[in-house]
């Protein structure tokens, strides 16, 4: 029995370096494939665009076939429409005709800098490292921190490979981009020479020329004096390969194109006699960054998984047990990975970009979103409102504790009170919000009628900036009190009766018993309720959405509602993501503070 186990272990140890090396090599291949795939996608798109540009140039009256062929340096062929269709190309239509006049077939260009050697070398080094490590581990016993260290090493290695691959892909995309710009400029030039008006020439170029309102993004248009613009436009070098790098709004833009339109006369910011230089970036061709990062993280996970399993390979029973456990965990873990951990990283990523829903470009802005929030009064007043709203938690806890003590003696009272008191915390929040809105109606609500009956003037519950937040806090108390009461009932039931009896014998009064037995006995329950309720109240949304919409005058604009509006009304996802991280920080700090306070109390008690 033991002999068989020993041979098994030896066999597994022999396989170990091989498996680790194989996993690392496969993972690297995945990263490189992702990069290559992104690039070939961009190339394909570029070829299709070239075909479209050539076709639209062909459609301009006065343009000859030789012009179209020269646009793409002989890579374009013009054939009869029925002959086309295989390979990249586009149909060209002559003015007024519904049938295609020709098929412009385009051969893909072989632009680019060759292969990602840096990434290859790094990957090779990494695989060698893995092999060496795995081989070394055969001799020495594994240190206890092995899995963590292996994971870190894997992550670092694959990050390096991914970075190198990304560098390479960006270089390639840059080449594609500038070729595209050069071709656009040339197409516009040919169309202009054939007598097309600037508007039509701009269309033929297929580039985002500055056509007034169509380009609303001011930081991508470079306005310059007419002479300078004309000099750039006339520069033959520029026509062959225009390439600029400009930093605008925190993002780097490469490439450039000269607008044919003049700036509108009479507007102060764009004086007449200027030309617009329009910049478009790699963002126009889809960047492989996200896919590369994702594949690097995935690869690190896979390889560290293999490294993690390898020590177990020698013990088949343990391996089977681990695999079975992973099988049970797989559905939950996969869903959490995709819909919680992934989004957490993604959210951080978004918060570092100027990310708007309507704009396909998401320039990287670093910590700019956070910096802008520091001086955003609206946001901090929303945080303050949230903090004030959270003050309803201690009030609710006091009421809930009183109710729990009241219902303590009789089981029947407990059951009935529970039914009535618990209902608000289970029923639909939106329905509750609607009811309370009616209840707190200025003229006809129950609250003001009741006050009127005892001679107190009407209160503007939801329409006065001074009162609205307090009204919401009252509703907050009403909503959570039942839930908290049930938790307290459970906590109270866990305190031994004997303690009370002993205290009574010692002559302790009700207050002393409460102070010295009930409160200390409930310490953990109180803490639990406090933390969960505070975390919950930081996330209040539905009440505000239905009842006040953050008003009046922003008095009830709480954090989550503010984030909601920033993202889904103003479509500024980058800002909203940064806000949600700040909110997380605040929640985290509050929880941490609670823990610290509890610790101190515990130490003194």
């Amino acid at each position: 029995m033991s002999g068989a186990g020993a041979t098994n272990a030896a066999g597994a140890a022999g396989v170990t370096p091989l498996v680790a090396t194989g996993a690392a090599a496969a993972a690297t291949a995945v990263i490189l494939l992702v990069a290559a795939d992104a690039l070939s996608g961009a190339r394909e798109q570029a070829t299709r665009e070239e075909a479209r540009a050539a076709a639209s140039l062909y459609e301009v009256p006065g343009v000859t076939e030789a012009d179209v062929v020269s646009l793409l340096d002989g890579r374009a062929r013009i054939v009869a429409p029925e002959a086309g269709g295989s390979g990249p190309g586009a149909f060209a239509y002559r003015a007024g005709a519904l049938q295609p006049a020709a098929w412009i077939a385009v051969e893909p260009a072989d632009e680019g800098n060759g292969w990602p050697w840096a990434a290859f070398v790094l990957a090779l080094l990494g695989v060698l490292c893995m092999a060496a490590w795995a081989a070394a581990r055969r001799r020495a016993p594994p240190p206890s921190r092995y899995p963590a260290a292996a994971t870190l090493l894997c992550a670092a290695l694959f990050a390096l490979v991914a970075a190198a691959a990304q560098q390479w892909a960006h270089g390639e995309l840059g080449a594609v981009s500038s070729a595209r710009l050069a071709r656009g400029l040339r197409a516009a030039g040919i169309a202009g020479a054939a007598g097309a008006d600037p508007e039509a020439a701009a269309r033929v170029a297929g580039l985002p020329w500055a056509s007034g309102a169509a380009l609303g993004e001011p930081d991508r248009i470079w306005t310059m004096p007419r002479e300078a613009g004309e000099a750039i436009a006339a520069d033959p070098q520029l026509r062959s390969a225009p390439r600029y790098t400009v930093v605008a709004g925190g993002a780097t833009y490469h490439g450039g194109a000269v607008a044919l339109r003049e700036g509108p006369a009479g507007r102060a910011e764009t004086p007449a006699g200027t030309l617009h230089l329009v910049f478009l970036g790699y963002e126009e061709t889809s960047s492989p960054t996200v896919a590369l990062i994702a594949s690097a993280i995935g690869s690190a996970l896979v390889v560290s998984l293999v490294l993690f399993l390898l020590p177990l390979a020698a013990r088949p029973r343990a391996l089977a047990r681990t695999l079975a456990a992973w099988g049970f965990l797989a559905p939950a873990a996969a869903l959490l990975l995709v819909f919680t951990f992934g989004p957490l990283l993604f959210s951080l990523w978004i918060s570092l970009h100027d990310w708007r829903l309507v704009d396909p470009a998401h320039p990287f802005v670093g910590l700019e979103n956070y910096r802008a929030l520091l001086s955003d009064g609206g946001w901090w007043s929303a945080i303050l409102n949230t903090g004030v709203f959270t003050l309803h938690v201690p009030a609710a806890m006091a009421v809930a504790l009183a109710l729990a003590l009241l219902t303590r003696e009789s089981r029947r009272a407990v059951r009935w009170a529970r039914l009535a008191l618990f209902l608000p915390s289970v029923t639909s929040v939106v329905a509750i919000a609607v009811v309370w809105k009616w209840l707190l109606n200025d003229g006809y609500g129950l609250a003001n009628r009741a006050l009127g009956a005892i001679g107190i003037g009407p209160v503007a519950w939801l329409t006065s900036p001074d009162v609205a937040l307090v009204s919401l806090m009252v509703i907050g108390v009403w909503m959570v009190v039942g839930y908290q009461m049930v938790v307290f009932q459970a906590g109270l039931a866990a305190i031994p009766r004997v303690w009370y009896d002993a205290a009574k014998v010692d002559g302790a009064g009700p207050w002393q018993r409460f102070r010295h037995i009930t409160l200390p006995g409930l310490r953990h329950t109180l803490f639990f309720v406090l933390v969960t309720s505070v975390i919950g109240s930081f996330q209040v949304f539905s009440l505000v959405y239905v009842m006040t919409e953050g008003g009046p005058l922003g008095a009830t604009d709480v954090a989550v509602y503010h984030i909601y509006r920033e993202a889904w009304e103003f479509l500024r996802f980058g800002n909203a993501a940064a806000m949600s991280w700040i909110l997380f920080g605040v929640v985290f700090a509050a929880t941490w503070l609670h823990f610290r306070l509890l610790e101190r109390r515990g130490a003194h008690a």
Binding site: L403, G443, Y564
Partner: protein, 277 residues
């Protein structure tokens, strides 16, 4: 002397009962007022001094409920909540079993990582989840509504706590008979965990039913709205028609209230399991 003490206790009991009754009345008042208003005329609610309908106007119900497709809203909520319950029960029982009953390296670390997600405010993952669902083309579809809600860390925690209380002997007996983990999970552990599963299912159902923000973001058409979003939309359409709105409120609150009425003990157990660690 004994008489005096009994009397004192009796008055104490009465004042307690009165106090409790008053608290219950305050807590229930909004619901009663909602029910009363739902049966009043549209102008009757504005006449001063009238808290209850002169004669109940039952026609409010069919009128308000046909003003918008509430049947569809309820169907959507039901589909949403049912799928979420099925998903959460499946993922949480399996994961809870693994954490409670299986022995594998890194188990406790992984469990802490899972638990840590409970600290994260939901709003952080809302934006990326929305962008992901949008990229998948699942906006305004059941897949989009449901897919992000299929796992509950609280549920995993609950199931783990419960599975840990099961005696080892049962498992050992099954193992002697040659049963693997899957067999033990399905035919020993899961049947024994019925009460915990019921608690989890109930909470998952109510949470899904009450979920407002996510359905608000991922649904656009009237046909895909769930009850909560439907009521909010109804509220902004019939801003001043309070009886209609109260009808909507009653209809939204009633199913959950009834569900709670019949399943109280599972609620209480869930809360107590959560509260005492």
């Amino acid at each position: 002397m004994p008489d005096a003490r009994t009397a004192a206790r009796a008055t104490g009991g009465i004042s307690r009962t009165l106090l409790l009754a008053f608290a219950c009345l305050v807590m229930a008042a909004p619901f009663l007022w909602m029910a009363a208003t739902s049966l009043m005329g549209q102008l009757e609610v504005f006449s001063s001094g009238r808290l209850f309908p002169e004669s109940p106007l039952w026609s409010n119900y069919p009128e308000a409920l046909t003003a918008q497709p509430f049947g569809r809203y309820f169907l959507n909520s039901l589909i949403f909540a049912t799928v979420v319950v099925a998903g959460q029960v499946a993922t949480a029982t399996a994961a809870g079993y693994a954490f409670a009953r299986c022995d594998f390296p890194g188990r406790d670390t992984l469990f802490m990582v899972f638990l840590a997600t409970m600290m994260v405010p939901a709003v952080i993952v809302l934006i990326p989840r929305f962008l992901m669902i949008d990229a998948l083309g699942w906006i305004d579809s059941y897949q989009g509504l449901v897919s992000t809600e299929l796992v509950s860390v609280w549920g995993i925690f609950l199931m783990r706590q419960y599975f840990r209380t099961l005696p080892r002997e049962l498992e050992d007996a099954a193992r002697v008979d040659g049963a693997g983990h899957w067999r033990i999970f399905r035919s020993v552990a899961l049947p024994l965990a019925k009460p915990a599963v019921a608690t989890l299912a109930l909470f998952a159902f109510i949470d899904a039913w009450k979920n407002f923000m996510w359905p608000l973001l991922v649904t656009r058409s009237m046909e895909m709205r769930v009850v909560e979003v439907g009521i909010a939309a109804f509220h902004s359409t019939y801003e001043i028609n309070w009886p209609y709105q109260m009808v909507a409120g009653v209809v939204a609150a009633l199913p959950i209230a009834l569900l709670f009425l019949f399943t109280q003990r599972y609620f209480v157990r869930g809360i107590q399991l959560e509260g005492i660690r």
